[in-house]
């Protein structure tokens, strides 16, 4: 059980405000995941990922989340279900091959996945990830932890590597994974949201001309500029919502 918050900027003028906007969103979902937290920020310099055990708000202060600039971000607060509470088990999970300049940010120890790099945050839990993990391992794709969400990240990266676009890979994921999930995924140029076939875990999307946001709870949107004029809606089950920059 967790809280997720994702923000994709359409207006480059907001770039310097990304961190402060995400900090407010993280605050709105902090109670959903008191165990640990993590953020991933896409910026012109590449991808920055920080994950730590402990109170999400203290974490945001510690890493000066509010001061960080970027073009899109994923944040996650975690209430662990079946795997351990460690930094390695925190979301966002990063999988795939980083763009050349960011090779140092690829997951240490992971085998080359051959796809484009992606970040994933997940609220929910999967029910058949053990089998999919075994299939990935048989294909040489090794997960680092026993976390179910990491399997989804590796699965998506493998599909991107096989030539799927992100929307196709996400549709394939919903047909392959059992369980309840709201997923937010970022790549170097895309931002996507998908929910399980029942739509069991909460999700709210808000869209303006300047940004797109997804959160687990409405209150996490409240500090965003221009929210009053935003189109706010609940994403449909199994439908892939995708924005590319």
């Amino acid at each position: 059980m967790c809280g997720i918050a994702g923000l994709h900027l359409l207006d480059p003028a907001l770039r310097e405000r990304l961190g402060s906007m995400v900090t407010g969103m993280l605050r709105g979902v902090a109670e959903r995941g008191p165990d640990s937290a993590g953020v991933a920020i896409h910026d012109t310099g590449g991808l920055r990922v920080r994950k730590e055990v402990g109170d999400p708000l203290a974490f945001a202060d510690r890493i000066d989340l509010a001061g960080q600039a970027g073009s899109r971000a994923l944040a996650h607060t975690r209430m662990a279900t079946e795997s351990a509470v460690t930094a390695a088990h925190c979301h966002p999970f990063v999988a795939g091959t980083a763009p050349a300049a960011d090779a140092s940010l690829a997951r240490p120890g992971a085998l080359p996945l051959g796809g484009t790099q992606l970040c994933l945050v997940h609220n929910g839990s999967f029910a058949n990830h053990a089998t999919i993990r075994r299939r990935l391992a048989a294909a040489g794709v090794m997960t680092e932890t026993d976390n179910d969400s990491e399997v989804a990240a590796c699965y998506l990266a493998t599909r991107l590597g096989a030539g799927d676009d992100l929307a196709t890979a996400l549709r394939r994921l919903t047909a392959t994974f059992d369980g309840f999930f709201t997923l937010a995924v970022t790549t170097a140029d895309s931002f996507a949201v998908v929910r399980d076939p029942i739509g069991a875990k909460p999700a709210i999307i808000a869209e303006t001309d300047q940004w797109v946001a997804v959160v687990s709870e409405y209150r996490a949107l409240l500090g965003l500029p221009g929210l009053a004029d935003a189109r706010v809606y609940e994403p449909e089950p199994e439908e892939v919502y995708l924005w590319a920059s």
Binding site: S125, A130, D178
Partner: protein, 464 residues
């Protein structure tokens, strides 16, 4: 083990189950002494071996979520043999009916099983002695067995089949041939097998035209050519050296491997074979699934498990351990009426008896005459089945109405499918084939070691 009773005059606990020379053993020795031969009977192993009852499913709670019954999808569709065959076997449920011969079973019983399989969208299987027209016409999907004896095996029926199953052995008697005692070799059975009537028939224990996987490969290609590469080729093994045998079946070109554990039934076999050969189904399924996984062929080469499957819980556990489908023999016979104290006569003016209609005829005295009783009978080999299932006697066979029998077996198979989806949904699965070993724990150390799942309440898998 016998227990010493230091306080009593009787030095040992004489419980028959544990006494080295208890009453059943004494009776067995006396039988051999009087007849100079081994005991023969039907069904599979009756001794207690680790089985699916020794496993439990970890259904959903807080960390995972169950699916609602009746309104949230849980698929049971099963495709077998899609790897090479032009027309794979597509089943509505992963529960099939195993090979049982016309000869061992009455023609009515075979027809009833075919009708039942068609009613629920699954397959049934021929057996030694060939394919009857009633069975073919009643069965939407009919698997045609190619056995060592080749009794009744011919190219015409081969081309009428929806799949071909090359039988290397069966769980009740791996390494042994079939047996049909003379009292069941009636005119029609004898004609189909080109054998004399009324003479005990022993089927071969190995195929006449190939031994070993190198030559099996040629046999499979021959069958593929004869069937124009359209139907899947199954290879059935009795569970002994399962890891080797599954790998070799795959190397020979099998689309589907059928693994029959020691609880698997028979129409007639030596008791010593039934109780003392092969390995339990529980151990066999994991060995077979692991062999296919190691070959990276999980899902590409189908795995059917048989031997003692009775309930939807058995089915769910077998699927979780890696089976794509299960196959049942004894249980559908029981659904037909095997071991029932009565059989049902159609009501007056009714073409066929309906479930719950007609009148019941008590046949307990006939069980007694066989030296047994309803609920205990394994006298299939005698051909004197009081309920018309395992007989070639016309009067006895007429006691089984194929339409009524089919409805009973179909009801049973539907109930199994419902139990399986109920358990899969409780594990959060939208498809019964998504059950996995991680959904299981074991109640005993033995079952944990065989199934390679943790002992309940621990993370301990013996040997890991």
């Amino acid at each position: 083990m016998p227990r010493y009773d230091a306080m009593g005059d009787d030095a040992f606990d004489a419980s028959p189950a544990h006494h080295t020379f208890g009453p059943p053993v004494i009776a067995g020795i006396r039988e051999r002494a009087e007849l100079g031969r081994y005991p023969i009977r039907g069904w599979g192993a009756r001794r207690a071996v680790p089985d699916f009852d020794d496993l439990l499913l970890l259904t959903a709670s807080a960390s995972r979520y169950p699916l609602e019954g009746y309104r949230e999808r849980c698929d049971t569709r099963t495709v077998l043999g899609g790897r090479r065959a032009g027309r794979p076997v597509v089943l509505d449920i992963p529960i099939t009916i195993a090979g049982m011969s016309f000869g061992s079973l009455s023609a009515n019983a075979k027809e009833a099983l075919g009708r039942a399989a068609s009613l629920v969208g699954t397959s049934t299987t021929t057996g030694d002695g060939g394919m009857t027209p009633e069975e073919r016409s009643a069965s939407r999907t009919l698997v045609y067995q190619c056995l060592p004896s080749r009794y009744g095996f011919n190219p015409v029926d081969l081309r009428a089949a929806d799949a071909v199953e090359i039988v290397l052995g069966q769980g009740a008697k791996p390494g042994g041939g079939g047996m049909l005692l003379g009292q069941k070799v009636g005119a029609r059975v004898a004609g189909m097998r080109t054998l004399p009537e009324g003479v005990d028939q022993r089927s071969a224990s190995r195929h006449p035209d190939w031994t070993g996987p190198d030559d099996l490969k040629i046999k499979i290609e021959e069958i593929r050519e004869a069937t124009d590469w359209q139907v899947p080729v199954y290879v059935k093994i009795g569970a002994t050296r399962v890891d080797h045998d599954v790998r070799l079946a795959v190397a020979a070109g099998a689309d589907v491997v059928v693994v029959d554990g020691m609880q698997g039934g028979t129409g007639a076999t030596q008791d010593a074979f039934i109780e003392h050969t092969g390995i339990p189904t529980l151990a066999a399924v994991r060995l077979a699934a692991d062999a296919l996984a190691d070959l990276d062929l999980t899902g590409d080469v189908g795995l059917i498990i048989s031997g003692g499957i009775r309930t939807g819980a058995d089915v769910a556990k077998a699927l979780a351990l890696g089976a794509d489908a299960v196959s049942l023999g004894v249980a559908p016979l029981i659904a037909l009426g095997c071991n029932a104290p009565t059989y049902r006569l159609p009501a007056a003016g009714e073409a066929h008896a309906d479930v719950g209609a007609g009148s019941e005829v008590d046949v307990r005295a006939e069980y007694t005459a066989l030296g047994t009783a309803p609920g205990h009978c394994t006298h299939c080999h005698t051909g004197r089945c009081p309920v018309g299932v395992t007989t070639q006697d016309d009067a006895l066979a007429a006691r089984l109405d194929p339409a009524l029998g089919a409805r009973r077996v179909a009801n049973y198979l539907r109930a199994l499918a419902m139990e399986t989806t109920m358990l899969a949904r409780a594990c959060g699965k939208s498809d019964v084939h998504r059950l996995e070993p991680e959904d299981l724990v074991a109640l005993t150390v033995e079952a944990a070691a065989m199934a390679r799942v943790p002992l309940a309440g621990t993370d301990w898998i013996p040997g890991r």
